[in-house]
C-alpha cells in the first residue's frame, strides 16, 4: 500500500540522492527533473525523490542487463544496489553463460533444435516425471513455457549485449554440458559463451562482465547507486507497483517512482539462515553468493501476495566449513575438487562418494540422512590429501581447497602422520561443535580412514574406482584441475596417497552458488500473485525469482544464460507498459 509517512531524513536524503544520481549522467538528470508529484492526491501520495521509467534493484548480471535492455528501448532507468560495490554474485562468477542455439553454434554447424533441447532440460529438471512421449515431456505448462522462452531469447539477448559492446563474448566450443552423455543431449558441446576478455582459465569472467556492462550502463546514462537497499514496494490505489522505498547507506529513506515498472534482480537467499532452513532440501551452510543475497525479495514480494516456487532447490556446491562459518565474503564454491591423491571421508572415516561429481550433485550428497541415528552422516566431510597433491594441484581459483603457499589457508589442517592429522581434524570439529550439531569424529575414524585410503589406493593403481566410478564422466575430468603429469594413465582424477606424511585435510560442507527459488514469474518476468495474475508493474529476474530448472544444473552457465534471456524479456515487457499516471 502506498505509504503516507515521509521520514524527516527524507528531504536531505532526496537532495543527496538527486545530487549523486545526477552527478555522472545527463540522462539521469533529465529523469530526475521529470519528477512529478501526485498533485491531485497529495495528501495520500508518497513523496518521491526521483522518477524513472524503470527502477532496477540489484547490479549483478540480471540488473545490469535489464537496465541496459530497457534503456536501449528509450526508457530512463536507475539501478539500486544494496551492497557497497556493484556486481553482486556476478562479480565472483566465472560467467560462463549457457545459450542454446547460439550464433557461434550456427556458424560452427552445430544443430540445437528446440524439441531436443527441451527434452534434455525436462529429463534433468523433472526426472521423476520425465516422459518423452508427453507433449510437454512431463513438464508443467509453466515449466515448459519458461524453458521454451529461455531457448527463444537467450541468443538474441546475448547478441544484442555483444553488438552494443556491453558484453562481447567468445565461444567456448569444447566445454561439455554437465550431463553430456545423456541420450537426450543432442548438442552436448557448444552452448557456452564467456566474456571475450576473460583470462584463459575464465575465472575472472564475472569481473569482466560487470566491468563491461556497468561501463556501458554509465555511458547510456543509467545511474548505479550503491548502498541503497530496497525495503518495500509502493503501490497506487489499484495495486499497481509505482515505485520503491529504500534505505540509503546512512539509513535515510528514499522513494523512487517507476513510471513503467520495478525490476528486481537482487539474488537469492543464500545468506538468510531462516529461509535456508525452512525451504531448502538439506542443510546448507552458506555459499559464494554475494553477502548481500539475503532473500530480500521473498518478504518484499510476499507482502504483495506473490506466489513462491522452486524454493526447495539451489545451485549447490560444496564449500569449506570454516569460511562459511566466518561469513567470509570472498568464499568460493568448490567448483573444482582438485587433486588426484585426494579423497573425502565422513566423520566415521568412510569414503562414500565420488569426489569428482559435478559440484551441484556433489553438494547434494551431503544431505544424505540416517533415519536410524537421526543424523546427517556426511554433514561435514573431510578432504584429505598428501604432499603430491599439495605440490601439483594447488590453485587459488574455482574454490579449490588445496591452495598455494602465501594464500589464505586457515581451512587447512596439517599432520605429519594420519594419526596426527586425525587429532587435528577432531579438534577442528570440537571448535565448531555449535555449528555442526555437536558432531565429533567417531572413535573408529582413524582405523576406517586407513582402510579407506588403502582401498582408494588400490583403485587408483588401476584407474578404476569400483565403488564410486570416480573420473568416468567427462564433466568430472573437466573440473579435475592440475595434477602431476603421469604419462600413460587412463584416469587423471586418481593416484594413490603416499604412505608417509605430511598429510593435509579440510572440512567441507554443502553450500550454494545461490538459491533458485522465489516469487513465480510469467515468461516475461512479471511476478504472479496467488491467483497466477501479474502484480502490475512488478518484475523479477535471476536468482531472486523461481527458476523452472527444478533441481537440475544443466550445464556450466545454466545460471547466467537464463538470467540474460529473462532480463531481455522482462525489459521488453516493462518497456511495453504504459507510463502510469502520476
Amino acid at each position: 500500500m502506498a505509504d503516507r509517512i515521509r521520514s524527516d531524513a527524507g528531504a536531505n536524503s532526496r537532495r543527496r540522492f538527486m545530487q549523486q544520481a545526477g552527478a555522472g549522467s545527463a540522462g539521469v538528470a533529465a529523469a530526475t527533473l521529470g519528477l512529478s508529484m501526485q498533485e491531485a492526491d497529495a495528501a495520500t501520495a508518497p513523496a518521491f525523490d526521483a522518477t524513472y521509467d524503470i527502477v532496477v534493484a540489484g547490479s549483478g548480471a540480471g540488473g545490469l542487463a535489464s537496465a541496459l535492455f530497457a534503456r536501449w528501448q528509450g526508457n530512463s532507468a536507475v539501478i539500486l544496489e544494496k551492497a557497497g560495490s556493484i556486481g553482486g554474485t556476478t562479480a565472483k562468477a566465472a560467467f560462463w553463460y549457457w545459450v542454446p542455439n547460439n550464433e557461434a553454434m550456427k556458424k560452427a554447424g552445430i544443430a540445437d533444435p528446440k524439441p531436443d533441447f527441451l527434452k534434455y532440460v525436462a529429463r534433468l529438471s523433472n526426472p521423476q516425471g520425465y516422459d518423452p512421449g508427453h507433449p510437454r515431456y512431463g513438464f508443467t505448462q509453466w515449466e515448459y513455457d519458461m524453458c521454451s522462452a529461455f531457448y527463444d531469447s537467450a541468443s538474441p539477448a546475448a547478441e544484442l549485449l555483444a553488438a552494443k559492446g556491453a558484453l562481447p563474448y567468445r565461444h567456448v566450443a569444447d566445454v561439455p554440458d554437465y550431463f553430456a552423455e545423456l541420450p537426450e543431449d543432442k548438442a552436448p558441446k557448444g552452448r557456452v559463451l564467456v566474456p571475450k576478455e576473460a583470462i584463459p582459465s575464465m575465472a575472472d569472467g564475472g569481473l569482466v562482465a560487470v566491468r563491461t556492462m556497468s561501463t556501458k550502463a554509465r555511458q547510456e546514462g543509467i545511474p548505479i547507486r550503491t548502498g541503497v537497499r530496497v525495503t518495500k514496494l509502493l503501490q497506487d490505489k489499484s495495486g499497481r507497483v509505482i515505485g520503491v522505498e529504500a534505505k540509503d547507506e546512512l539509513g535515510a529513506t528514499v522513494r523512487l517512482r517507476a513510471r513503467k515498472a520495478v525490476i528486481f534482480a537482487t539474488g537469492g537467499f543464500t545468506h538468510n539462515v531462516e529461509l535456508r532452513r525452512n525451504f531448502l532440501n538439506g542443510p546448507i551452510f552458506g555459499g559464494c553468493a554475494a553477502p548481500s543475497n539475503e532473500g530480500d525479495f521473498v518478504p518484499i514480494a510476499g507482502a504483495l501476495g506473490a506466489q513462491l516456487r522452486n524454493m526447495n532447490y539451489a545451485w549447490s556446491c560444496p564449500i569449506p566449513l570454516e569460511k562459511a562459518i566466518a561469513k567470509d565474503g570472498s568464499i568460493s564454491g568448490m567448483f573444482s575438487v582438485a587433486g588426484d591423491s585426494m579423497l573425502f571421508v565422513n566423520k566415521y572415516g568412510h569414503r562414500n562418494v565420488n569426489e569428482k561429481l559435478q559440484y551441484n550433485e556433489l553438494a547434494q550428497t551431503f544431505f544424505e540422512w540416517d533415519g536410524a541415528k537421526a543424523e546427517y552422516p556426511n554433514l561435514v566431510r573431510i578432504a584429505i590429501w598428501d604432499q603430491r597433491s599439495q605440490q601439483h594441484s594447488a590453485s587459488a581459483e574455482y574454490g579449490r581447497l588445496i591452495v598455494p603457499p602465501g594464500t589464505d589457508d586457515r581451512h587447512v589442517i596439517k599432520g605429519a602422520t594420519l594419526a596426527e592429522l586425525a587429532r587435528g581434524i577432531d579438534e577442528r570439529f570440537a571448535k565448531y561443535a555449535g555449528a555442526i550439531g555437536a558432531a565429533r569424529l567417531a572413535p573408529e575414524f582413524l582405523t576406517n580412514l586407513q582402510a579407506a585410503i588403502a582401498r582408494f589406493n588400490q583403485f587408483a593403481k588401476t584407474g578404476k574406482d569400483l565403488d564410486f566410478k570416480r573420473g568416468e564422466r567427462v564433466v568430472e575430468q573437466l573440473f579435475n584441475g592440475d595434477v602431476k603429469d603421469e604419462p600413460g594413465r587412463s584416469n587423471p582424477t586418481m593416484w594413490p596417497l603416499a604412505d608417509a606424511g605430511p598429510y593435509y585435510a579440510a572440512l567441507v560442507v554443502a553450500g550454494t552458488l545461490d538459491t533458485k527459488g522465489g516469487p513465480k514469474t510469467d515468461t516475461n518476468g512479471r511476478v504472479l500473485d496467488a491467483g497466477d495474475q501479474p502484480i502490475p508493474g512488478l518484475y523479477g529476474v535471476g536468482n531472486c525469482v523461481a527458476s523452472a530448472s527444478g533441481r537440475a544444473y544443466w550445464a556450466g552457465g545454466a545460471t547466467l544464460g537464463p538470467i540474460i534471456a529473462f532480463a531481455y524479456r522482462a525489459a521488453n515487457a516493462a518497456h511495453a507498459e504504459g507510463r502510469s499516471a502520476a
Copy 2:
C-alpha cells in the same frame, strides 16, 4: 481486500445456508440472527450470510477442537468443511496424540521435565544445529517458543477435551517414542494418549475422535457445514480479517462474518502436485491425507502476505504407488511394513534400506539421488514377500501391503517363480511409465534380486542384518505387525524367504500423512505477515500452518498432540480478541 461484488446466487445461497445452519441448532440460529450489515458503509461492505464470533475452516481434529475450545469460552462458532463428510485426515488416523508431561504420566510417576523434553525435540528437529549448551539448544527463537508452547498446553488441552466429554482418552503407557534410545529422551514412554473407545489395535482412533468431538460440537450448538470451501478472506479497511468467502456444494458464494477471528485448520498440501514439487525435499506421490487437503491455505493466506515456513518437510510415509496414482481416497500410509520373510529392492534389484525403519524415516530414503545418472534410484521400490508372510502377516490395518483374501489387492503382483514375478513387476513399471519418469527394471534386476534374497536369508538365519540393522531398534519392532511365531528367535522382523514360490510384490513410493509447512504463526496461532506481525483476526492450526518440528517425527502422535495444544491456544487468543465493529 473486502470484495464489493455479490453474486446473483448469493441471495438463494444465503437462504439455503441459514436454513441448513439453523436446522440443527438453536445456538446457530441465534448466531445467524446476530447478522449485522455494515450500515455505515453499505456500498462497499460485503453482504454477509451469517455472523459468528469464530469461523473455523476444516473439521478435522484442529477445527473441531478449536471450535469447541472457543465455544466453551462463550463464543458462537461455525465449522466449514470443504469435503462432503466431516473429519478430514483425522477420520483416517489412529489418533495417537503425543502429550508431554500428561496427567496419566504424573499419576504413573513418570517425570517429563520441560528442559529435557525441549532437548529431545531440538536434537531431532534441528540435528545439524543442535547444541545442548545453547540456551535454546540451537533452536531459533520461534522454534523454541513453539515447542515450549506445545509442552505447556498439550496436557491442559487434552484434559479439558476429556473433562467435557469431547475426547475421553486412555493412556498408552507402553508405546515408545520413535527415537526412544536417544540419550536426550528422558521420558521414552508415556506421552501417548488415544481416544478411550478405540479398538485394541487403535486403528479406528480417528473415527472415534471425530465422532465424540463432532457430537459434542453439535450439542454445543456449533454447526458443521460440509461441502463449503473457503476461497478467500474478507478484510476491513484496516486489514483486519472480518470473515470468509466460500463456495457451497452447488457453487454458490456464501460470506460469513467472523466478529472475532477466522481459524483455519484445513490441512496440508499433500494433494497439490504443484506445491509438492516446488517445496518438498523429494518426490512425493501423494498420501493418506484427506483428498481435500490441497493446500488451500497457502494461496489464501499468501494473498494477505503471510510468511511460509517449514515448507520442505512432511509427515512422511511410504505408500503403494498404484493407489497414489489412482488417487484412491482410502489410501493409507504404510505405517507398518509387515512381514518377516519380506524385503525391499529397487529397480536394479538392490536391497539398500532397512525396511523396518520408522515410516517417516523410511520414506525419506526414497529421495536418495544419484548425481551421476541424474536419477532417483529408489523412486519406486519393490516389496517382495513369500507365501509365509502372505499367510501370517496379512492385515488390512495401518497401510500394510500384505492384505488378506477378500481385500482390495490390485497393488499386489504375483509370480510362481522370481522370474515370473520380475516380468510382472516390469509390466507394472511400464504401465506407470508416465508417472515414474519412464523408469523400468534394469536388465540385471533378476540376478541382483536373487543375490539380495540370498544375502538377506543369511542375515535372517542369524537374526543379524549386517547391512542395515533391521529390527535392532525398539520402534522397528513396534510396527512389525503379525509374524509367524518362531519360538526362540531373537529378531522377529526377519525370516528367510522360501526357496520356492509363489512370491508376491508391490510397488512402493514416498508419500505423506500430510505436509507440515504453511503460513507461520505465533505461539497463539496468529498468522504472521512478512514483517512477523500478526494479520489481525487470522489464525491457523495444524498441518495447514508451519510446524516447528522441522524434519522430525518425534513420536507416534507428534502430529495430533501439537494440533490439540495449538487449537487450545488459538481458541483462547481468538476469544480474547474484541468483537470487531460491524
